[in-house]
Symmetry: C2
Subunit: 193 residues, 2 copies
Amino acid sequence: MGRQEKTIRILEAALRTFARYGFKKTTLEDIAGELGMTKGNLYLYAKDKRDLYEKSVAHAFREWQERVAEDVEGKKDVVVRFRVMCVKAYAYLSVNEDLQSIVLRDPTIFTLAPREGRFYSVNVAAVEMIKQVLEQGIREKRFRQVDVESMAEFLFSIYIMFIIRAYVKSEGKPVEAIFEAAVDLMINGLLTR
Amino acid sequence: MGRQEKTIRILEAALRTFARYGFKKTTLEDIAGELGMTKGNLYLYAKDKRDLYEKSVAHAFREWQERVAEDVEGKKDVVVRFRVMCVKAYAYLSVNEDLQSIVLRDPTIFTLAPREGRFYSVNVAAVEMIKQVLEQGIREKRFRQVDVESMAEFLFSIYIMFIIRAYVKSEGKPVEAIFEAAVDLMINGLLTR
DNA sequence: GAATGAACAACTAGCCAAAGTGTTCAGTCG
DNA sequence: CGACTGAACACTTTGGCTAGTTGTTCATTC
């Protein structure tokens, strides 16, 4: 097993454990035990406990993003692409219980603005994906000529907003209906008239 | 001075003090001192410290809402109305420093979903205002036939999102550009084609 | 080079007393 | 008679202490 794979195994075990007990309550021995190694060894893969936490969360986010990117690339029509991007990105958390639990315990993971907080680079990559879809739409004259940069950041914020509403604060009338209204508004707002 | 006015005086003094020191650090004697009365007397106007805090914040919110409502009613064209509603509601915080400081110290005041958390009734009233503008637009055939309830909740969430981005986490590229993109997208998404 | 495990440092939990603050209420004031 | 006071009371917070736990380092082993 190469260093690459070992790192992934460690990050996944760490995520699982943090998800179960929360950051404060998990000890490095919990994680090391889960992996059949000693806690000292973890320091070869992360500089401290916090760093291990952030690395494991960032890893889960990158996986998430790759899945969405694959699904988006499977479609060619830009409107379909946009819709798939929305729906898949939104649905992913529901199948990753560890990440869900992490987010629930630590809502500050998500910041409405992409360029702040931890996970800067993951967020920037997400905004990049949105931008590319927007640019395709404009190039093909399906979308209006909007300010791509600002619009992408705005759409990203809407996305995070739904994540927060759906998983961090679950309550109120079905989020699904509002999600539908949102996608409807966004697509109609983008299309040329 | 009637009971009504006295209550307002107390709520305003409370807000000012909470804004200066934060909830934990302000004592009831701070507030009572500001008003030239003793702390025991405050209990005739609120059932406890927390209640006093929430009442004072709710009062500021209602003022805010009334101002926006006035400005909106001054316009007749529904697109202008919509835009004025967005801009004024967004701008108000910048002129109320006390409320700004409160929100900064206690970001959980704003929840993205209107029906949860404290200040339920204030939020519901805001959603109601949005609904009425939407209904006018649809009635006049300027807006598409959207699900008014869901759309209003969605728009409200966008609004809160901007409040949070602008005042709670100030950073990143100018929020103004993104705000413009947002209003642009919303209006275009609503208009009939 | 990867991993260990003992040693060390830093933090946390529990406890206590003292001080501060929120809450109540019998009594005063206008 | 209602608005208000001020002292009494109860609850929470603070700081200082100790013991125990947990994060971090590193010389040594595999």
